[in-house]
C-alpha cells in the first residue's frame, strides 16, 4: 500500500541526504519525495510517498524519527487531506493540432505557459489521477519533455503538521 508521510525537518545542510540515504540503506521504496521551506525559516517540510505494508511503514517512521533533524512525522494516508502535484509538459504542437491541444488544456483547467514555433509548454496542477489523465491525453501529440514535482499534501480542517501545533502540544 502507498502511504503519504508529511515530515517536518530542521533545515540543516545534508538533511535531504540523511532522509534519502535512510530509505535506500534500509531498502524502502520512495515513490516520490518533495521538499521545501515552510512558514518557519528553519523548518522544511517533506512529503514522502512510500510503498509498503503496515510493518514496513512502522519501521520507516521509527527510523525516520531517529534522525536528529527530523522534528515530526504524520502518516496522513488514512486521514482527510488535499494533495497536489504540478507538472510541466512540452508537447509537439504544429499549428494544425494546436486547437485540439487547447481544448484538452481547457478541459483539465491546465494552462499554456509557453508557445514555441513547434512546441507548447503546458502547466497543470491537481491530484495524481488528474495529472496522469492530462499526460495520457497529451501523449498522442508527442511529449518532448516532462517534469513533475512529486506530491505535496496537507490535512484538511483543524489538523496540522506544523511547528506551531507542535509547540502547543508541549
Amino acid at each position: 500500500m502507498r502511504h503519504i508521510l508529511a515530515v517536518l525537518v530542521e533545515n540543516n545542510p545534508g538533511v535531504l541526504t540523511r532522509v534519502a540515504g535512510l530509505f535506500s540503506r534500509r531498502g524502502y521504496n520512495i515513490d516520490s519525495l518533495s521538499v521545501g521551506r515552510t512558514e518557519h525559516p528553519n523548518v522544511s517540510r517533506m512529503t514522502i510517498v512510500v510503498e509498503g505494508d503496515d510493518l514496513v511503514l512502522e519501521q520507516v517512521t521509527k527510523q525516520l524519527h531517529k534522525l536528529v533533524d527530523v522534528i515530526k512525522i504524520n502518516d496522513i494516508t488514512s486521514e482527510e487531506y488535499v494533495d497536489r502535484e504540478l507538472v510541466l509538459v512540452k508537447v509537439g504542437a504544429d499549428p494544425a493540432v494546436r486547437g485540439e491541444i487547447i481544448q484538452i488544456v481547457d478541459i483539465f483547467r491546465a494552462r499554456i505557459v509557453d508557445i514555441g514555433q513547434r512546441t507548447l509548454i503546458i502547466e497543470c496542477t491537481g491530484d495524481e489521477g488528474k495529472i496522469s489523465a492530462v499526460i495520457e491525453s497529451l501523449k498522442p501529440f508527442g511529449i518532448k519533455e516532462l517534469v513533475r514535482t512529486g506530491k505535496i499534501a496537507m490535512l484538511r480542517g483543524h489538523k496540522f503538521t506544523s511547528l506551531n501545533e507542535f509547540k502547543e502540544e508541549e
Binding site: 525537518v9 530542521e10 545542510p13 545534508g14 541526504t17 540523511r18 540515504g21 540503506r25 523548518v43 510493518l55 512502522e58 519501521q59 521509527k62 527510523q63 524519527h65 531517529k66 534522525l67 536528529v68 533533524d69 527530523v70 522534528i71 515530526k72 511547528l163 507542535f166
Partner: protein, 555 residues
Amino acid sequence: MKMTAAKALLQCLKEQGIDVVFGYPGGSILPVYDALCDFPEIRHVLVRHEQGAVHAADGYARVTGKVGVCMATSGPGATNLVTGIANAYMDSVPLVVITGQVATTMVGTDAFQEVDITGITIPVTKHNYLVKNANEIPLAVKRAFHIASTGRPGPVLIDLPKNVLQEEITYTNPTDLKLLGYRPTYKGHRSQILNARDLIMKAKRPLIYAGGGVVSSDGAKSLKKLAETISAPVVTTLMGIGSFPGDHRLALGMVGLHGTKYANKAVTECDLLIALGVRFDDRVAVDFKSFAPNAKIIHVDIDPAEIGKNVRVNVPLVGNVSTVIESILENLNNKQEDEWLELIEEWKAAYPLRYEAGVELKPQFVIETIRELTNGEAILVTDVGQNQMWAAQYYKAKGPRTFISSGGLGTMGFGFPAAIGAKIGSPEKDVILITGDGGFQMNMQEFGTAMEQGLSIKIIIINNSSLGMVRQLQKFYCDGRYSAISFHKNPDFVKFAGVYDALGLRVREPGELRGALEQALSTDGPVIVDCIISEEENVFPMVLSGRPLNEPIEG
C-alpha cells in the same frame, strides 16, 4: 572570553569532564594539537593508527560509562576511523569523534587530504556535524555530547575545517541545545507496565533475555532484583554478558549461535520472554519466526525502532531499561515456578558446557584458569572469532562493564586497542585481553602505545596459527575445503614483546599455564602470553545454519 576556536573546542571538552583524548595529528587538525599545549589537564594518548584511537575511546567508554573522545586529521586520518565508528554505532557506545577538515574555502575541490567524512559516516553515526561557522563550535560540541550519551547512545562526529579552528571567537557556554527533533523517552508507558506485570504474574515459565541495554542503562542491580523476585532464569546476549552475575544460580549464560544448549532450550520452551535492552539480533534469534515460539514477549528498549523490528511482541515498552525494570518491580509480588526451575536444572546437568581436558592446552582451560586466578574481578576484553566465543562461554563475568567485546560489527582488531582504552578508564583493575593471533596482528602496532602509557595489559593470545572461526565455518559449511585460513608465517610473539623490552611468555602445555598467568599478572606493564593451541579446536555448542536454536551440535 576571546580565544581561538581550537581552544574553545578543548575548553568545551574540559567542561564536559573530558580528561583523556585518543588521537593522531595531521595538517588539518594542527590548530587543535597546538591548543593542546595549553591544556595540560587533558591527557592525549598518541596511538599508532587512527583505528587504535577510536577503538581505545570505545573501550574507555564501555568500562567507564562516560563518553569516549578521539580525534584525527582530515582525509586518511578520518577514513581510518570509520571501522571504529561503525563498531561503536552497532554496539551503541557513546563517542565524540573529532576530525580536522580542509579549509572551508577548499571544501568540495578535491583538495589535498579532503574527504567528505560527514557524508561517509551518515550511516554509522547517530548524528554528525560539519561546522563552518567558528562561533557554532561550542553549541555543536555540547549537542554532540548530549546526543552521544542520551537515549540510545552512539557515536557523533564533528568535522572542523582548519580555517574555522584558527578563527578567534568569543567563547560562551551555550545553555539551550535547541534540538527540536530529539527527545528520547525514558519512562515506560504506565498501562504497558501494568500489562507486563500481569504477564509476569501469569507466566509458568518466565525467562529473562538480557542485553547490552541493561549494561548501558546501568541496570544490572535492577535486573538482579527482578530475576530474584520472580525466580526467572536469565540468558544474556554477548553484549549482555556481565549484566547478570555469571555464577548466579539463575544464570544460564549466553544465548544464540554459540550459546549454551540450556539457554537456547529455555528460550524455545519458555512461555514468557522478558527481553531487556536487546534487539533480537540474527546471531541470537537465528530464525526470527521460530524464536521463542511458545512465549509471549515483553520487549523493553530505549529505541522504539528496535521494538517489533525482527519479532512481534506482546508488550512493547519504550524507555530506559533500568528505569522500566524499577517501575515493573513496584508492587510486583515474589513468585517462583518450581517445575520450570527444576526443568532448567535438569537441562543444566544434562547439557553442560564441556571440553576434553587432556595433555593438550585447551583454550577453554585458559579462560577458566584466568577466571579462577582473577576471581572474575578483572576486566576481560576480547577480540573477535573463536577466542571471543570461548571467552564469552567460560569467563562468567560477574559484573557489568567487565566483559568488553565487539558485538554487532564483529570487528577483528578491536580487542587490543579497546583494552588500552579500558585500562586507561579503569587503571585500578586488571585488564586482560583475549585475542586470536589473527586479530592481534590487525592492531598489534599499538603495543608501542601501551608501553609508552605504562599500561599493565595482559595479552593472552589464543594462538592456533590460523583464522580459527573461519576455519570452523569452512569445516562445517564448505566440506573442510580450507581456503586462506592458515598463517604460515606468524611472528614470534614472545620476541615481539621483547622488541619493546616487555615480557613475553609462551605456554604449550596445560601444566605451564597457571605459572605463566601468575607471572604475567604480577608483572608491571604489558605482557604477552602466547598460548599455543591446536588449529583443529572448534567452538561448541554450535547451531548449524537452518537448524533449530535448541538443537545445537555439541562437538
